[in-house]
Symmetry: C2
Subunit: 214 residues, 2 copies
């Protein structure tokens, strides 16, 4: 234990290098096909050291999910300034989201493709992150609706589902942007703003789309 | 072979019963946890007969994905009437989509959760279906944009990503509607129309949301 204590910084650094290698390997190969040999080699360490630090392939994958989920939510939160208009907050949040997923395509693949597919424990990690983002977007939309209606008690159920729609659209566009050459994060964010904001904006002004009777 | 020929209808009927049982079991338990014993019991047949007809768990799962994917795309296509206004086509398509996913929650779980998570072969089946739906929605949006701009050559890249956003939002809302008590298919469709149409509608009228300079 004494030896570990004096090596705390190197261990933390090496752990991040292992996680970097693991995210890259899991993101590109998938969870099943990724080998601990490849991850160790990419990290420049021995395989026993990976097991010593991260315990097992399952624990390593869980650590990857947690790190990437935290990084993504932190990027979105820090991109948004609370006291700006609602459309500005949404625009800033979307740009932060698409910038992060573009800069970390392997991390995004781990979160959106790999983690949901290999068992309940991994899926639960991602579900928690997604719920946090949906709750964040819900509060943003709710604050905008309450300001637009000048009603601090405007009920949340009036905007139920809108955050789910927005988050689902963002996930789909992040996959599309990462798979499509020459689509920038700014373009992806602008596409979603154009798709979503005018619609949300009309809702804020109590001008919904009216379904036909039949 | 003669014996099989004379039993053709019963075999087809029994195969559908096996697929019904398999979709239900895969959708609720997941691919890994689903057992062929349970599927055979639920279908009211012997396990050897399931293997005789569907060959393997992998082939059975593939058959489930194909059947459910075909049923979903057929439901959406048949819900839309080509010569109606664009917002009516979108509304009809969304209602058909959410009605189908609400009535076939296990099939939707197979397509949206299970199939994407257990290997490239299964994922490719669902990717093909998703691409078909994205292409269908792209043509719908493109036709609307060309009509609105009175320009039959209005370029497709101008609406790039919008269909991805719409399909991603619909997928997310289908999960949400199926997991949320008392949300009807009509409500889910109306939520997405309200979210999306006014935004798309403004785009059709060349009235996009303008990003701030910074």
């Amino acid at each position: 234990m004494g030896a570990v204590k004096t090596k705390r910084m190197p261990r933390a650094v090496r752990e991040q290098q292992m996680l970097d290698a693991a995210v890259r390997t899991f993101g590109r190969r998938g969870y099943m096909a990724a080998s601990m040999d490849e991850i160790a080699e990419l990290a420049g360490v021995s395989k026993p050291l990976v097991y010593l630090y991260l315990n097992s392939k399952e624990d390593l994958f869980t650590a990857c999910i947690r790190r990437e989920a935290h990084a993504l939510t932190a990027a979105v939160r820090s991109g948004v300034q609370p006291d700006t208009p609602a459309d500005r907050q949404l625009w800033d949040g979307l740009r932060a989201f698409f910038t992060h997923t573009a800069q970390h395509p392997d991390g995004w693949a781990v979160l959106h493709l790999q983690a949901r597919t290999h068992g309940d424990a991994f899926a639960a990690e991602v579900t928690a992150m997604r719920e946090e983002i949906v709750a964040f977007v819900t509060q943003l939309i709710l604050a905008a609706a309450r300001a637009a209606h000048r009603d601090p008690d405007f009920p949340e159920h009036e905007i139920a589902g809108l955050a789910e729609a927005l988050v689902g659209a963002a996930e789909s566009l992040a996959d599309w942007a990462n798979a499509t050459p020459d689509v920038t994060a700014r373009q992806a964010a602008a596409t979603l703003m154009n798709f979503a904001w005018a619609g949300l904006g009309n809702l804020m002004n109590s001008d919904p789309w009216i379904p036909p009777v039949s």
